[in-house]
């Protein structure tokens, strides 16, 4: 069980690392609008999306 003495501090450091990753994603605006991309496929204007791809 001696490995616990390594693993517990390691997990604490890992948590702080994950918090950092979340902060990066948050400040990059990834959580600003969670609905918009899901609703996009229901949007009537989207068929022009395909035209755009052809061009």
């Amino acid at each position: 069980m001696d490995i616990l003495y390594l693993l517990i501090p390691l997990s604490a450091v890992l948590v702080l690392g994950i918090l950092g990753v979340f902060a990066w994603a948050l400040n990059g605006g990834q959580f600003d609008d969670l609905e918009q991309h899901g609703e996009q496929i229901l949007d009537a204007a989207v068929d022009s999306f395909d035209k755009h791809q052809d061009a």
Binding site: M1, I8, P9, L26, G29, F31, V46
Partner: protein
């Protein structure tokens, strides 16, 4: 007809060519532009624009490139997701009109973004809240994991140094929760203490502080004055519960602010002003002054209060006055800012602008009423101070008594008392039940913006109802046809079709209803002409002249009659008469009856004519009915009821209801109502069904019962445990476990509502 149409088109063309230059106007420009300092003491203008027509990041790049090619544009950032652009430009070298034109040339639409500042602020607030919530929840999960061994093992199984390590780990992971995530509670508590009163933040902050200090002491000096038990897990969980509630509250507040911004966009931003020499100029509405003569195209809102000087038209004032039929306006009549010009292009002389207009007055009245909403619902804060003093006295008294009996136990007995009374379960008792109930209501078609509305719904004594659009269908007026001639020349269906195809050419709301309810025969018409306020006329292919409109006998606008009629005549001979009835919503009668059985007094407040209000009131059996009320009259009626000590709810849909919605203790708006009414209401009936109010009320009553149970449980738990802690029979670890269990019981009890 031709002349007016040509006038409208030439007017519109003029507006287009001039529109962009309005953006260069200093006042207009300041609405969407800020100054930012650059290096070497120079400064640049930074404008926010909303871009329309973008679908992906590729489009954003195209717009950015188009902007950067404009001489004088220093920098440009376009976001496809937010549909907005930020442009930095040199005021000496370019103008907003130049780069807006560049965007339009690139194939996208751009409008100045006047709400950019408020939106940026909201985004910052929302990111901040999410960040705190994530830190608290994520750390709480980890701390709980580290705390599990000491819950599951006996003291002999867990080696002391391993327990020490786990405690240190918990302390490290609680540090971000205390220092960062819980900061709003500490600043809130500090603010209210400095202000000389005690809010609910104070007991919560005190509980957190005591738990943290005691646990830190136990973690770093096991067996010292704070004993050897740590409560980092309870602490982190408590903070994340509270932050979760605040986050949801903030989301609701932001969506309300967003719809308010949309509503204010109802006034046009530019106006077509006639100069003294007869030329036309497109100017910002902010530049309009009293006495200016302005042209208003068809379909646009009047930009200011004023008098018509030329032309005759119909104005849709329903959103302001509640009057359901459009009002005829001739030269010399007063028009109201925010109402829509439906008939023909007209000219008006501006009498009042900006903050003096009735539209702005209603918005101001609404904000004012909101600020003065009676504080019947602040129970938590009322109890915070006595609760806190009682806890402090108990803990202090226990410490004093124990320092005499056994000084070594004095500190941890005091800590036990403080932890066992930590208002965790108490502060979760109401919010968790209200939240679960709001989820259940949303599933039943009532979206709530403020959780306190549930209490108001359950307690309301009087429900004020608006008529037009709330009790009656807003557009779907029932159309009934009465044949005047009994000849076999046309079938009923043929007449309906003829009327519908003629009506389809008109913009009159009654004609629209007629065209919508009957299938058009698709007949071809020539020599079509519409006389405002009189009707529509056209020649069919077989040469007969048909007319749809007022009957000659009805010349003297019989707008006060119960029903509105339109006559169809062929070659001057009346053929059929269409009667338009205001149609009650299908469930209106049942809902009103059910609410009255439930002990709610129903009153009808309407801006519509007294005769129509009378008719609807009789149909529904509502004795208390008032017609012809302006927004301020409605406000007076509601205030009078509140002064009598009644808890008042209001259900409405129009802009004219917005001040009353803000004043009432609880307010509901119809889902298809005006934006501003929906933004102002505590809840929205998404499916426009009045029966949802009945269901929501019974759920609200059930919610209050659950809240009461929660309070009894939490208070009972505290009452039972405090004496145990006082006599020193309750070790702190049991206090921590009890605290977590009582919170869990409260949350589970609340969740029964969401089923």
């Amino acid at each position: 007809m031709h002349a007016t149409l040509a006038g409208a088109i030439s007017g519109a063309g003029h507006a287009l060519s001039n529109d962009l230059q309005v953006l260069d106007d200093a006042i207009e420009c300041a609405r969407f532009t800020r100054w930012v300092p650059l290096a070497e003491g120079r400064r640049a203008a930074e404008s926010s624009l909303r871009i329309g027509g973008m679908h992906c990041n590729g489009c954003a790049v195209i717009v950015e490139q188009a902007l950067r090619r404009v001489d004088g544009v220093l920098d440009a950032h376009v976001s496809a997701v937010a549909e907005c652009a930020t442009v930095q430009w040199d005021a000496a070298r370019t103008r907003p009109s130049a780069f807006v034109a560049a965007i339009e040339r690139a194939g996208y639409a751009a409008v100045p973004d006047t709400a950019a500042g408020a939106r940026a602020l909201r985004r910052q607030e929302s990111r901040d809240a999410l960040w705190r919530l994530f830190v608290a929840v994520f750390c709480a999960m980890q701390v709980m994991m580290l705390a599990t061994p000491s819950y599951l093992s006996t003291s002999t199984e867990l080696a002391p140094d391993l327990k020490q390590l786990l405690d240190w780990g918990s302390w490290l992971l609680t540090l971000p929760v205390m220092l960062f995530a819980a900061a709003p509670f500490f600043t809130g508590a500090w603010r209210s203490l400095r202000g000389g009163h005690i809010g609910m933040d104070v007991p919560a902050a005190l509980g957190m502080l005591v738990a943290f200090v005691a646990s830190s002491g136990a973690a770093f000096d096991p067996g010292g004055v704070f004993g050897r038990e740590v409560y980092f897990d309870s602490l982190a969980m408590f903070v994340s519960f509270l932050l979760g509630g605040r986050y949801l509250e903030m989301r609701a507040r932001h969506s309300a602010a967003l719809s308010l911004e949309d509503a204010i966009g109802r006034l046009p931003e530019t106006a077509l002003r006639e100069n003294a020499d007869g030329s036309l100029a497109s100017v910002s509405v902010l530049r309009l002054q009293r006495g200016d003569v302005v042209r208003i195209p068809v379909g646009q809102a009047f930009c200011a209060d004023g008098l018509l000087t030329q032309g005759r038209t119909r104005a849709d004032e329903s959103l302001l006055s509640g009057e359901s039929a459009p009002v005829d306006k001739v030269a010399g009549d007063a028009v109201v800012a925010g109402s829509l010009n439906l008939g023909a292009p007209v000219t008006m002389r501006v009498e009042r602008v900006g903050a003096d207009t009735r539209f702005e007055a209603i918005v101001a009245m609404m904000r004012d009423a909101r600020g003065r909403r009676p504080a019947t619902l602040q129970g938590a804060d009322r109890w915070a101070a006595p609760f806190l003093w009682a806890v402090l006295l108990l803990a202090g008294g226990a410490a004093a008594v124990w320092s005499v009996i056994d000084p070594s136990r004095a500190v941890w007995v005091a800590v036990s008392v403080l932890i066992v009374t930590c208002p965790c379960a108490l502060s979760l008792a109401a919010p968790s039940a209200l939240l679960a109930s709001a989820v259940a209501m949303a599933r039943n078609g009532v979206m709530l913006r403020r959780l306190e509305a549930i209490e108001g719904l359950a307690r309301m004594r009087t429900l004020f109802l608006d008529k037009t659009g709330t009790l009656t269908e807003p557009q779907g007026r029932g159309v009934q046809m009465v044949r005047i001639d009994r000849g076999p020349r046309w079938t009923d269906a043929a007449l309906r079709g003829t009327a519908a195809s003629l009506a389809a050419w008109s913009t009159h709301p009654l004609a629209k209803a007629l065209a919508k309810e009957n299938a058009s025969s698709g007949a071809a018409w020539c020599e079509l002409a519409e006389t405002p306020g009189q009707g529509m006329q056209g020649r069919a292919v077989d040469g007969t002249v048909w007319r749809l409109g007022r009957s000659p006998a009805q010349h003297a606008a019989a707008i006060d009659s119960d029903e509105v009629e339109a006559w169809l005549s062929c070659d001057g001979q009346p053929v059929a008469c269409f009667r338009f009835n205001e149609v009650l919503r299908a469930d209106a009668v049942a809902a009103v009856r059910a609410l009255e059985r439930d002990g709610v007094r129903i009153a009808l407040l309407s801006g519509d004519t007294p005769a129509r209000v009378e008719r609807i009131g009789r149909l529904l059996g509502i004795a208390d009915r008032c017609g012809g009320m302006a927004p301020q009259d409605k406000l007076v009626a509601v205030r009078a009821a509140q002064a009598r000590g009644e808890i008042v709810a209001m259900l409405g849909d129009g802009i004219n209801d917005a001040p009353v919605l803000a004043q009432a203790d609880t307010s509901l708006a119809m889902g298809e109502g005006a934006q501003i009414a929906r933004a102002q209401a505590d809840g929205v009936l998404v499916s426009n069904a009045l029966q949802d109010v009945v269901r929501a009320r019974s759920l609200a009553k059930k919610t209050l019962r659950v809240v009461r149970q929660n309070f009894i449980w939490a208070a009972g738990y505290n009452a039972a445990c405090v004496p145990l802690a006082l006599v020193g029979w309750l070790p702190p670890w049991a206090a921590g476990l009890g605290m977590a269990t009582s919170s869990l019981v409260v949350v589970l009890n609340s969740l029964r509502l969401a089923r």
